[in-house]
Structure formats: C-alpha cells, structure tokens
Symmetry: C3
Subunit: 234 residues, 3 copies
C-alpha cells in the first residue's frame, strides 16, 4: 500500500488523493469492521478477480493486519474452489514469494491432511436434501464433489474460522457478481457470527475494491437477508 500510494501521487494525483483521504484515512479507519476483516475482504477480491499486480501489497498488509500465514493460505485454497483453480494457483504463487521474503516456511503452513472441525450433520442433511431435489441424478458427480470435497472437507479445515471463511466467500461472490449466491453465503456468514453492521460495512468496503456496481447490486440482496433473519419464525 505504501508503494502504491507513492506511485499514485506521482502518476495520478487525483487517485493519490482519493487513496490517502478516502481509502486510507476514512474507509480503513471506520470502526464498523476491523482492519483484519477488511484485509480478508480485500485479498479475497484480488484472488477472485486474478488481480496479481496488487496481491503482493495486500498480502503483506493482511499479514500486518493480523491475518496469519495459515489463514492467508487457507483463503487461497478456499477460493481455488469458489473462484476457479487458476485463480488459486496464481495467488499461491504470489503468496509463496511473500512468505519466502518473511521467512515463513512450508511447515508453518496448513498441512495437506488436517483434523477436521466437527460438521453439523443436521444442517448438512438439509443442504443435501435441497440439492438432491433440485439437481437430480444426471449431476450426481458434481453433487458428490460438492459434498465430499467442499462441505465434508474444505469447509471443515481448521486453519480458517468458519466466520472468516464465509467473509472471504462473500467477498469473492460480490467481486464476481454472483448475487444469487451472495444471499446463501451472506446468511451463512451471519450464522457463523458476522453481525448485521459488519455485513453492511463489508459491502461498503467492497464498493471500493470490487467496484461500485457490485456493491450496489449486493445491497438489495443483503437487505433481504437481514429482513428474513429479523422476522421471527412462527
């Protein structure tokens, strides 16, 4: 970020001013969301959109803001599935250089085999039931991968808290305009402990990093999620 700002001041004074006055001195200091959460959102956007030029700066900023190397590594692994495998390999390659520069060795990163978090079998059964009903046998392969690789493996890896995993997922979905899925995953993020204030502020933060149109389209989705969660089930 230091580097970026320096360049901007001498190459695009207007952007330099916005970065200093609006992003750095206002947005990132708003109390509704921690800088650690803001870094999770920002790196997720860059990974989801394959924006390697800013990855080094923001991976380093994330580590300074309290995201651990394990967590950053898990975010990359997670988004390999939610954004696409080539998004993951590019980010892993940039992260590898950042880790090397900071003396983080591979044994400090999450192992290939880990002890999974406990799964909530009731929630998982209801997810499978819905999918079975809507998808059907011709997509059995995709359904099996979804169950075995995503929900009984990836989401249960302990190196990234479910709340943070949800935040990264929501950011990636907003960044790539997957608004129907924003609804499911924003709700899941709130089940996992994200507050309404944090969720709204996440979308505000994403306006700057994922572009205004993605944020504005997410507002309507988020409002519907908030309202439904506030309504008592009769």
């Amino acid at each position: 970020m230091e580097t970026t700002m320096y360049d901007l001041k001498t190459t695009n004074p207007a952007m330099g001013r916005y970065e200093q006055e609006v992003l750095r001195n206002d947005l990132w200091k708003r109390p509704q969301l921690s800088v650690r959460d803001r870094s999770i959102l920002t790196v997720a956007v860059l990974i989801a959109r394959n924006q390697s030029a800013e990855m080094t700066n923001h991976f380093e900023l994330a580590l300074e803001n309290g995201v651990t190397p394990t967590e950053l590594s898990e975010i990359i692994t997670h988004l390999s599935f939610y954004s696409g495998w080539a998004n993951g390999t590019l980010a892993a390659s940039v992260a590898s250089d950042v880790f090397a520069k900071r003396g983080v060795t591979v044994d400090q990163l999450p192992g290939a085999i880990v002890e999974f978090l406990a799964i909530d079998e009731e929630i998982e059964a209801s997810r499978v039931a819905i999918v079975d009903q809507t998808v059907g046998p011709i997509f059995q392969g995709l359904m099996d991968f979804t169950t075995n690789v995503l929900f009984r493996d990836l989401w249960l890896r302990p190196g990234l808290a479910p709340r943070d995993r949800s935040l990264a997922t929501v950011a990636a979905l907003v960044a790539t305009s997957h608004f129907p899925q924003v609804s499911f995953h924003l709700n899941k993020a709130m089940e996992n402990g994200t507050t309404e204030t944090e969720a709204a502020e996440a979308i505000t933060h994403l306006a700057f990093y994922a572009g205004w149109p993605n944020a504005m389209s997410s507002v309507a989705v988020a409002k519907a999620v908030f309202e439904k969660r506030r309504t008592p089930t009769s």
Copy 2:
C-alpha cells in the same frame, strides 16, 4: 495496434485477417461513432477487465485519436471506483509508462484538487431520494460515500466531459455484464449528449472488445432505454 497486428499475422493468420479486414478497415471506420469515442470505449473495457497486455497499445492509440492525457488519466480515476481500485492502480501504472515515453509530465495531468463543474441539485436530490428509500440507514456509510465521493466529487471533475465520462462508464458496465446498471448509465449518457445512433454503435463496437454475449445482452437494455426516452411524458 500496429504491433498487435504484426504479431497476429505471423502467429494466428485468421485473427490477423479479422483484425485487418473487420476491425481496422470496417469497424473503426464506421461513421456512426468517432475514433476518439471508440478509443474511450476500448480503453474503458481494458481497464474494467484488467487486461494490461493490450493497454499500452490502446492507451497510445487513444492519445493519437484525440483523447488527451488529462482525459485518459480521468478515465482511469473514474473507473477505479466503477470497476474496483486495483483496476485503477494497474491502469495508472501502464499509463505512467506511456506518459513518460511521450514526455507527458505529472504537472500536465489533472491535479488532486480541481474546481468542480456545477452540480444539478434537482437531479442529485431526486437520486438521493430514490436511494434513501430503497437502501435505508444500515447502509448509511455506503450512501454517504456515494454522495460525497462519487456524485459531489468524481463526476464533477472538469478534466473529462460528462458525456465522455458516461461513455467510459457504460463501456465498463457492458464489459463486466452489469446490465441493470447499463440502463441507468446509458440513459445518463444520453442526457449528457450521446445520440441514439452513437449509443447503438457503442454497443456494436463493444461486441468486439467486450465479447459478443455482453453486447447482445446490452441490446435489450438499450432498446428499452431508447423506447422510454422516445415516449412523451404525459
């Protein structure tokens, strides 16, 4: 563009032919839209999609087609907000090299602080009223940024005419499949002086640079905008 074409002829003869016969000798020469406007659309697509490999060629072509360094710089600043901050910083970095090569110095670029264009308070009040009604207090932060940074600052910077700012915005939205927002901004582009013929030709131009599916999906949106504007208000 020269460079690109040379390469294509020796690496992909079919693309070389299409580029010469269809893009260069037909599309870019169609009278419905000036080459300057076509360059604004094309650079906006590249910035919105982070396509740095073609930026140098098309930034240079834009300058040759009558887009000033100030205008190019403003387009980049503008799309930092509409496409995402990392799109802007990448484009600013490429533009910086192009400017340096041409001897354009930073004092020739738009300043950080500028005297704003006058705002139409009536239109702005009606925009705020609509947003207030649909968005609500939980997104007050996002709404404040939208008002203070976008509509009372960015859009009022004098280095890029509102019509050109609208063209760049529409191109970026089409390039990233934000069709609901294409409607709002295409209408704004026409309020700002873009004719129906120019708007239709812009979408035709974007078919080549943003891909056929984005253009075809924009046609329906544009037709609805055209029709509504033709209908006299009773």
Copy 3:
C-alpha cells in the same frame, strides 16, 4: 500441470493434495468425458478469463491430450469474438511461444482464408428471423457483423469441428457467468453431437476451473435444456 503441482506441494500443501487426489486422480480420469474434451473446456476458461499464468501449462497439456495446434489456434480465434478481442490477442501470444517451443510453424496453423463448411440455411434463416424481430434497425450494424463475421464465417471455419467449437463456447460462457447464452449454446452443442452425459460432465469439470458458483448456476440452465430436448414436439 507437472510444474504447477510441484510448486503447490511446496507452497500450499493443501492445494497440492487437492490437485493430486481430486483433480488429477479423480476428475480428469472420470470416463464421462475424454481428456481431450476436458482440455478444450479448460483452455477455453483460461482464455475467457484472461488467466495467462496457467495458459502455457494447459496449452501444452491440451496438445498432449490430442488437441491439434490447428484446433487450439481456432479456439483462440473463436473466443476472440465470444470473450473479447484482447482475450484473443493475449492467448495468441502465449500460444505462439508454446508453438515455437514445439517447432510448430505458422504454415501448420489454419490459414487466414479457408474453405468454409456448408451452412444449414434453414437454421440460419430462423436465427436471423428471431434476431430481426427482437433487435430492430437501430442495431443493423451489429446484426450484419453477427451474420457475416460470426455465422457465415467464423463458425464455418473447418479447423475446429462444430461440436468442439460449441464446447469451447459453452465453457467460455459458463466461465464468465453468461447464463442466458449458456442455454442457447448448450442446446447448439447438443445439436452438434454432445450427449447429455457429456454436457453434465462438462459442467462438473467447469466447477473446478470456472469456480463452483458458475457451475451451480449452470446446472439449472442445463436441466431446462435437457428437459426441453427430451420432450417430443407435438
């Protein structure tokens, strides 16, 4: 792919395990789709999303999996129109290096001028009739380009079988979330000889390379296409 996997094992052990166990030893070996078809889908995703970092690996893998240099070159030309011109020029530049390394010279690639496949005039007439009705005279330029450059030229180039051209198109559309167009082109892929099992498996494959959300959103579209094709016309 060898290179990628080696890197992943030492930089992100979790991704290294998924790549070996899930992608390489499971997905790519599933019998529902040939490795050649899987390579067509994968390179189409990379081209459509401008993901150059993985292009060299996957262009080489495609050639090893039976995609010919002519076919790869045609896929790039084809997606220049469906994804955008700059996507094509970037891919053509990477392919040029891959071809050079393997001693493939330009005379082995498809010529600029080729003898076209026969066109089905009945199908083409019905396509034009639908477009004429929905689009109208203001977009005559775009309609003429669509007819003359796409359907009476690009799609008739003999270097890539219509079925494979369709597969690449569908993959590019799924990769960039163009779900309305997935419907048209998936149907066309099946007209061109893709089976239901292959189509479903293509979407399963794309889950990994275009991200889970794009695959899941495509499932509903594909199911509707399958159902409509199964229903006998009365």
